[in-house]
């Protein structure tokens, strides 16, 4: 990064540096401001809440970062998460007791959800890559399909039977203020980080994002790589749905809808460019915490839920405007 900056005009270099530390400084400033003005913001209870609620967002952002890295986008993640959430609880209600052991039932439910995520990701990837449908429109179509599937499975929230609660007890385990879900989420995102940084697969993802044609000429299996990333992305979205189900011990068919914007916000704040080829999972971790602190902070000060949409929308625009690549002249953006 630093060698690149030297060659660029001063203004550009400053902007790049701002973006690199944007999330980090935003977190510090937000934490300082909130803890100074709000007495209990850094109290144990709120901190615990904040950290626990971060887990599903972190998992989904891990997947989305990979998709953004090669320049595509998946707007269906929220809806996939809803379907998986609903399917998990529905499965537990219908077949949970026939397993005898709640943990076994939980694992089976998890398998069903993840399988769904895998299939949805594969289908989306296939339609995008093989049929050349732009990813945002393909995923938008799937968003509508999965939203209605979630509502078809159940119209309203369903709760898990008390006998099966032990299957979700792991979600409440915590080490001090850090809960097990967050630990799992961070492990997952670090694994994805290792995958993108140190494997041939990850290098291929970056290469495709940088210049797809060159990547193809260099013999990279562009199509296969893309489909695999979409499949992984689907699995991660489904996993987040199970996390949400475990947290509430119940399901809601629209639970994933608000996540779509937050995921994009987290990735963009973390410095991942929408154009592809630039970004990192580590940045996304910071981005996720920024989003979580903004959201939690707004709830804490009592900002209207209505205003939160406005604030997030503006944050996304600002973050993307800062990460957009303006270097190439005459580039046509549609």
């Amino acid at each position: 990064m630093s060698t690149k900056n030297k060659a660029l005009p001063g203004k550009r270099a400053i902007l790049d540096n701002i973006m690199e530390y944007f999330s980090f400084s935003a977190i510090i400033i937000l934490l300082l401001a909130l803890s100074l003005t709000q007495e209990n913001f850094l109290g144990e209870i709120n901190l615990k809440n904040l950290l626990r609620d971060t887990a599903p967002l972190m998992i989904m952002a891990a997947g989305m970062t990979m998709v953004l890295l090669f320049g595509s986008i998946d707007l269906s993640m929220g809806a996939v998460c809803s379907v998986s959430n609903v399917a998990f609880v529905h499965f537990m209600l219908a077949y949970g007791e026939s397993f005898g052991n709640p943990l076994l039932a939980g694992l089976a439910g998890l398998a069903v959800s993840l399988l769904f995520g895998l299939c949805s990701g594969l289908t989306l990837g296939f339609i995008h890559v093989k049929l050349k449908v732009p990813s945002f429109i393909a995923s938008l179509g799937f968003m509508s399909v999965w939203q209605s599937v979630a509502l078809l499975i159940t119209q309203g929230p369903e709760s898990m039977k008390k006998a099966l609660w032990p299957a979700t007890d792991w979600y409440k385990i915590s080490f001090g203020v850090v809960g097990l879900p967050l630990v799992l989420a961070i492990v997952i995102i670090l694994l994805v980080y290792l995958l993108t940084r140190f494997t041939a697969f990850g290098k291929a993802v970056f290469a495709i994002g940088g210049n797809e044609r060159a990547a193809r000429v260099a013999g990279i299996h562009v199509d296969r790589t893309k489909i695999m990333v979409f499949a992984l992305n689907g699995v991660l979205a489904a996993l987040a749905g199970v996390f949400l189900a475990a947290n509430l011990r119940s399901s809601a068919p629209t639970i994933g809808d608000p996540f779509t914007l937050k995921i994009v916000a987290a990735c963009a704040l973390g410095g991942t460019s929408l154009a592809g080829g630039k970004g990192s999972e580590l940045g996304t971790i910071l981005g996720v915490f920024t989003v979580a602190i903004i959201e939690n902070g707004m709830n804490f000060i009592g900002v209207d839920a209505y205003w939160q949409n406005v604030v997030f929308g503006i944050f996304v625009l600002a973050a993307i405007a800062l990460t957009v690549d303006r270097r190439t002249r005459g580039q046509i953006i549609k």
Binding site: Y306, V310, G313, I320, I333, K334
Partner: protein, 338 residues
Amino acid sequence: MIKLNPAASITEEFAEKVRNENRNDRLMKLAPIFVLIALVMVFTATCGVSFISGGNLLNILNQMALPLVVALGLTFVIMLGSIDLSIDGTVGMAGSLFACLVLNSEFGTNLGLMGAVIAVGASMLCGLAVGLCHVYLKIPSFMASFAFMYICKGIGMVSYQGHPPTIQDPFIKALPTASFLGIPFITWVAIAMFALCYFIQERTAFGRHIYAVGTNESIPRSVGVSVERVKVGVFTLAGFLFGVAGVIGAIRLGQGQIAIGAGKMFPAQAAVVVGGTSLAGGKGGVTNTIVGVLIMTVLDNGLLVLGVNPNIRTGIQGVIILVSVILTVARGAKVISK
């Protein structure tokens, strides 16, 4: 499919190719109309003759008023090769603001029809902002408008603070049932908007520039057309039409709430694409859109008459978008879709 005569010269070969392409183009143009006729026939066969009775046709005409206005705005954006996902938010926001500004049950304002002007103005401003973000900050249009969907939803909900105002202005309350020549007032508004859009598309330089920018941005730029201004103008025009749709929605519902905009984007998107306006830009137009809207409305109405679950109907819209995009998308080996 292209049969070439081996003895023909290069010129003849080229002419043959162009003729073939033109024929395919004409076929593609007629395809939506065939789909529409087929749909009507299928539903008449399954639902009985009542499907094409005067009552149901008038019903369909009423149902298509709001989707048509939304889809008209979206058509211009898609003709550029861009997209606007802010519809759910802008339509809901305009409806909410309108209801807050006229005589209503929650607030003491009574601006009458000025309320409609302000609501549409606010929606135009949002369209302008999307355009500016897209063009000058170089944010892809789908992302800029996606963020604005949330921003506008937020503004709409803040405007009535959780208590949706009921419209009490007697003149506005009478509008949904008012009709002229047997066609309801709201449908007339949609027809007027269509006429306006058709005029802009066919008779103004701005309208012709939209096609040029959509086909190949660098050519109009090199002959001195301000591509930036055309794009911002299109997004503003779209904002205007979404605003009008929102006001219509509020008048029809008799209440202002953000839900007026809910689920408006998908049918509009599907209608524009099904009508034959290509997502790649430069092709199609408002006349295509009216056929597309008719297809979507007939389909929705038919499924409703058949008693299909509304959730399945939303899913079907998603599938329709996917299928029609798959059928029309450019599929050369060198195309990179992101």
